[in-house]
Structures are given as C-alpha cells and as structure tokens.
Symmetry: C2
C-alpha cells in the first residue's frame, strides 16, 4: 500500500466535468489500495480573474490583501473536489493552508514553505479518507495568508510529499510528460521516460513550464520521486528521479527557450570594488531575482555590466538601476525586452566536451548572433534576439538530440 500525493493543475480542475474526472481518478487510486493526498490548484482562469479584480481596483494592490484574494481560487477548487469525492462515497475533506499549518515566511506573493503539520491529514488517511489540500497557499507565523507565487501548487505538492514521506508525487497536467523541447515549437520533440532532478531543475529554470522550479528543488533535497503525467489519459508520463550512472550517456536531454526575460545594461561604469553590490543589493531587497550577469572587462578602467531579470520585474529593476546609475558614474543605461534565452541541458555535458562548440556552430550557421552566454556543469544558455527563438530551438533540437550526438537514449518508447 503506497502513500501517493497527486497534484492537479488548473486545467485538470477547469470545469465541473473535469473535477468529476479528477475525483474518479482519485477514487480509483484509493480503491487500488493506496492512501491518497490530493493537492489542487485554482480552476483555470480563476487566478487571473481575481488578479484582474485587484488590478481594476488598484494600480498597486496591497501585497498582503492580494494574497488573501487569490488564495480563494484554491479554496473554491478544494471544496469542489472534496464534494465530488464525497459524492463518490469517498470520505474526503478539504484542508486550507492554515488548517495544515503550511508555514511560510512572510513574503506575500512569493512565500517560501518552512514546515507542514500533516498530523490531521494523516489521521484522516488512516481512517480511510482522502485529504484534499489547497495548493499555492500557506500562512506566516502571524497566521497571515501567504501565497507561493505562480506554479506554487507544484511546490505545495512536493513539500507535502516530502513531509509525509510519500512514495511518489504525481503531478497531473495538460501534457503527457516532460519533452526534449516544446512540441508546439518543434514537432519532433520526444517525451522523456526519465530525467534527473538536476536536469529538471535546469529545464524548469530555463522556461520549461511543466514543473515549477522550487518544486524540483524540494524534490531533489528530500529525494521525492516525481511523476509528471496527463490528467486526460492513463499513459505513463516522465519520472523525475535521482540520477543514476546510465543517465550520463545522454549528452543533451532537453532544449528550452524563455521569452520571459529582459536585459538591462549599465554602460561604461568606472570599475571599482563594490560596484556590483551597489547595483544588486537594492534589487535583491526588492525580491527581484537576477538571472544572468555579465561584466565585460573594457578599456581604461571602465566596464559594461549586463544582467537579465524576469519580464515582470523589468520596470522595477530598470528604475532601480537608473536611480543608482548616476551615483556610480555610469555613462548610461540601455535595456531590451526583445530577448530570448535558449538553453541546452544534459547530464552528459559533465564528462563530454564539445556540446558548447557544436551549439555555437549551429547558431552561427543560421546567422543568429549570441548576446550573452552562461554555463553550468550541465547546461549552456545563450541570450539572442527574441525573433530567432523558435528557429534556434528547432535547429539545436535537430543537431543535438535528433541527430544522435547522444550515445544512449532516454526517450520514452512510443
């Protein structure tokens, strides 16, 4: 008898009929002898509807109250899913953030989970019931409602699975698994049967929207096996698991693109110690995450400094940079929102050289200029003009995945 956490996203609970389908799947999992905790997102469109209300009311909605507002989306969904289960004869009960003490820090809108008190849920499970937990929401130490940020329900689910030591955390979504790249861009994309936590982490941070990055961090830290699969079929999905020896045979497991970043450049800054601190401390204090940073050594003690942030934080970051530009003696600030980050990811890069060279060669052949480069042990990212994003994904997928630079194969047999 396994302990299973199942997470259903917004499209999976997007209508009354789909909620009934979710309930049937949960009931079947329970009938097969498993103990089940269900984590649910808001019905598709609901979070946006609520944010729209706040946006209509206020140019800058109060952050605490915005969380009170959007947390209702998940509350509606858990109530309906629990109702649907009760209708099937399953003793189910919904749990909100404060009812399971899903404790977070107090950063409204992007809170981080600190602990979970699963005792009342486990009680229910031991009595044969099903716990239906609101994803995305928690409470801080003063019992203020907090939310975890977009995609936070994935994190709720994996954190829950870690807290109860679940055998698996199943993430139900509207795709059948994790693909080598976005099938809408590249029809030859293939579903992966398995992927390591580290690869998934890179892919998630690179714009593959199938899993929220913090959920993968949680899964890695606590060793929770995650199974990404479709709520519309019984097909096996992709298992996100600890890496094993065979995985390194695959040089490139995925190609991702991210159109959601923007680039900001401080031009001709006097290159003195403490420069980066002056620029990035206020940005960090505003909880803006900086992705890539490049500082070019340049002539006569001056340097250009370029970095990227999420598009949503762009205006705020830009005005902060402009505010310090004079103080640090920069000649000017330029920025560009028409950029794309395109990345290739693979465990095999650790032990095999040549992927970067091949990547640059393929892009050059298409006349795509590389603006920034950033690498890690298992990924290479480049920033290019946004208009080339899809082309770059297609040619890199073809050259690095389809044309067999990989020595093994981890794709699902289809």
């Amino acid at each position: 008898m396994a302990l299973v956490v199942q997470k259903y996203g917004g499209t999976s609970v997007g209508s009354i009929d789909r909620i009934k389908a979710v309930a049937r799947r949960v009931a079947a999992t329970r009938a097969a002898g498993n103990r089940v905790i269900v984590v649910v997102s808001a019905m598709a469109g609901e979070t946006n509807r609520l944010l729209q209300l706040a946006g209509d009311l206020s140019a800058q909605p109060d952050a605490r109250e915005a969380d009170v507002l959007v947390a209702t989306g998940e509350q509606v969904a858990v109530a309906l899913v629990a109702m649907a289960l009760v209708d099937l004869g399953v003793p189910a009960r919904s749990f909100l953030g404060h009812q399971i003490r899903m404790s977070t820090d107090g950063v409204f809108g992007r809170a981080r989970i600190k602990s979970i008190d699963a005792s009342s849920m486990l009680h229910l499970l031991n009595d044969g019931g099903v716990a239906v937990v609101a994803g995305f929401q928690g409470v801080d130490e003063k019992m203020n409602i907090t939310t975890l940020g977009r995609g936070g329900s994935d994190t709720s689910a994996v954190a829950m699975a870690a807290a109860v030591k679940a055998d698996v955390c199943e993430i139900y979504t509207d795709v059948t698994g994790v693909f080598t790249t976005d099938p809408r861009i590249c029809p030859d994309a293939r579903k992966l049967a398995r992927i390591s936590f580290d690869e998934m982490l890179e892919l998630a941070s690179l714009g593959a929207k199938v899993l929220q990055i913090r959920s993968v961090e949680f899964a890695k830290r606590y060793g929770v096996p995650v199974h990404v699969r479709s709520s519309f079929s019984d097909e096996e999905g992709t298992w996100v698991v600890p890496e094993d020896r065979n995985m390194e045979d695959v040089l490139v497991s995925g190609v991702a693109s991210d159109l959601n970043e923007a680039k900001i450049t401080l031009q001709r800054v006097p290159d003195r110690p403490g420069l980066a601190t002056k620029i990035f401390t206020p940005i960090a204090n505003a909880h803006i995450v900086v992705d890539m940073i490049i500082q070019n050594a340049s002539e006569e003690g001056f340097t250009d400094l370029t970095f990227t942030v999420q598009r949503a934080d762009y205006q705020k970051a830009l005005s902060m940079v402009k505010a310090v530009a004079g103080e640090i003696g920069a000649r000017g600030v330029t920025s560009d929102t028409s950029v794309a980050k395109v990345s290739v990811v693979g465990l095999g890069m650790r032990s095999h050289a040549g992927v970067a060279a091949r990547m640059f060669e393929v892009l050059a052949r298409e006349g795509i200029n590389i603006q920034m480069i950033s690498t890690s042990e298992i990924k290479i990212s480049v920033v290019i003009d946004a208009k080339y994003a899809e082309l770059a994904v297609r040619v890199l997928h073809q050259a690095l995945i389809e044309e067999g630079i990989n020595e093994g194969a981890r794709e699902a047999t289809t």
Copy 2:
C-alpha cells in the same frame, strides 16, 4: 471618539466602484475621529454563483465543503475593501473567521456564534488602522470553516459590535432604513426613525429582509444600538434601539409578508399524548425550524395538526412527516407551498386591544380567507393564500398605519 462597526451588504460592495465608495465612507468616518471596524458581505451575486457551482457538481453538496466554498465570497470582498482603503492611505487589514477566532458551533450552513477574539483587531485599531472583517463566516472548535446562513453578515457585525462594546453598529444596505412595510408592495410605506428591538425581531422573523433575525437577537441581548441606513446616501436611517415609554403609543409600527413558508398538515391523527414529540423531534434534529403550529381539537379523539416551515426545508420536512404518518395513525398528509404569512407588529398591542379584530375585519372585507392565526404580545400573523399577499399588505397598511389608528407617530420626518 466613538468605536463604530460598519457592515456593508452585497450590493454595497457589488462592484469595484462601489467598493471604492465604501472605502471613502470608511476613511471619512475614521478621519472624523472614530475607530472603525468594517464587516463585509460577499459581492452581490457571488454567493449564488458559488452555490450554483456546487449545485452543478452535486445534487446534495457536502455541507462542510459547501461552507469552505461559499466562505470565499466574503474573503474576496474583504481583500478588495482593505486594498481600497490602503490605496486611500488608511492602514487597513482584512481578517477572516479563523484569524479572529470567530468561534461557532459545528452546524455547517447555519452555525451560531459562540465567541470572538477581538484582540488582534483592537491592536490594529489602537495603532490607527481599520479592521476589515469577513462577515458570514466562522470556525468551529476544530478550525473547520463554518457559515452563519443567509444574511449572516448582519449577525457577524452585531456580534462584533457586542464583543468590542462598540457605540453603534451601522448596517449599510440598499434601502434607506426600516419601513412600515415593503415600499415595492405599498407605495405609501414610510421610513421609521426608530424601532424597538422586539418590534424589529418580529419584523425580521416575519419576512422583512432588512436585518437578519439573529443579528437583532444579539443586538437586544447585548444592548447594541443598530443604525440601518443606505450606503448610497448620507441620509439618517432607522435606529433599532431598546424600547422607551413613548414607543407604546404606536399600535402598529409595521406590516410584513413572507412568501417563503410552506404548510404541512397531518390529517385525522389519533390524539394521544406524545404525538407532537413523535412529529417534531426528528424535524428539530434535522435543524429545521418550525414556525407556526396549530392543532385543531376535533371529533372522536382525532385531530388535525398543521405547521409551517421555510420553503427551503419543505421537501425534507414533508418526507419526515410522511415517514411518521403511518406510525402515528394519521389518515394522510397534505401540504401547500402557495401560502403567505402576513403580520402586523407594534409595541402598543401589549396595552391596547382591538388590533386583531380590526385586522380580521379588513381581510374579510376583501374576501381573504384566513388559514392559520398566530399571535404574540406584539404581533399578529395570519397565513393566507399566497395570491392575496400583496393585497393584504396594502389594505392592512392603509387601515392600521395610514388611517391613524396609531396615537403617536414614529415615522421619520421626510
């Protein structure tokens, strides 16, 4: 400096513009030197939308989950009102049922308030802030979410006013006060400047929808002055207050009609001790409130027993009665949902005779047959055919209020 509780109903917060208007009124009340607690209902239409979702999902939605679902309506409203206040520079914060420990019993859908922990709210008020409290919702001792039933936000507001010993509980609604009868039925209805708790209790229980009956019970028990007024004007409304000597001069202060009841009759039941218990104990256990009960003495040890319940409880009550009808030897069960209860209310009835006689005379003159009669110290109710309800209200209002059977006058000067 007064401590004021202001309650805004669904129409008062029915749109973004109205929410901003509410915020301006609250801010003005605070700027005038008052400490303010705001209690808010769900935006107009929202509770019905949520119940519709539940109805689409399930023929008999689980009661616990239905409360989790509908409680989101008030949660959305408090977040938006608090946001609007923050935008006006007022330090405001929303409070949900669990955050102020609005403790209730565990009867989902119609819970009763047991206690409130106002300390965190009062802290905020003492720091110059405004507390925005979700009406209608509470938590039971296990922290399950409960709701107080339709109109429960009035009760939340008055209970809150009692808990913090507020100087006044202002109930903002879409009418300008309490009228001698429904102005939509009777254009000559007049607004009352003052009404006693007891009269208001009778009117509320008789179908005048301006205040929820339990809120009036609370107000009477704790002596909370209630001011019913319009959120769309600054006009004085109606004060609901402890009675004073002058009030008895008015024989009839209001005429009310209620089309929301249904009548059930057990025919020819053997008249034995314990009969009523057998019928009404299961009904009470199902938390169904029985309004009028009439038992006619009849020939040869048999009796007819008739009672009324709310239309919403009618089907359930009817099936319960049918279940015991055989056991207690009744010849049959009849029922009627096309009935209206029409009532006249006035403190003066206590000391003045003749109102009942005049009421029956007026109805007889119009050919309206009286099916049931029930009286209290300060009211007379009759059940009649529903189709005569409006006619009855108009002729009774004319004969008992407009034609000056009253010795004094408590109408507002207009």
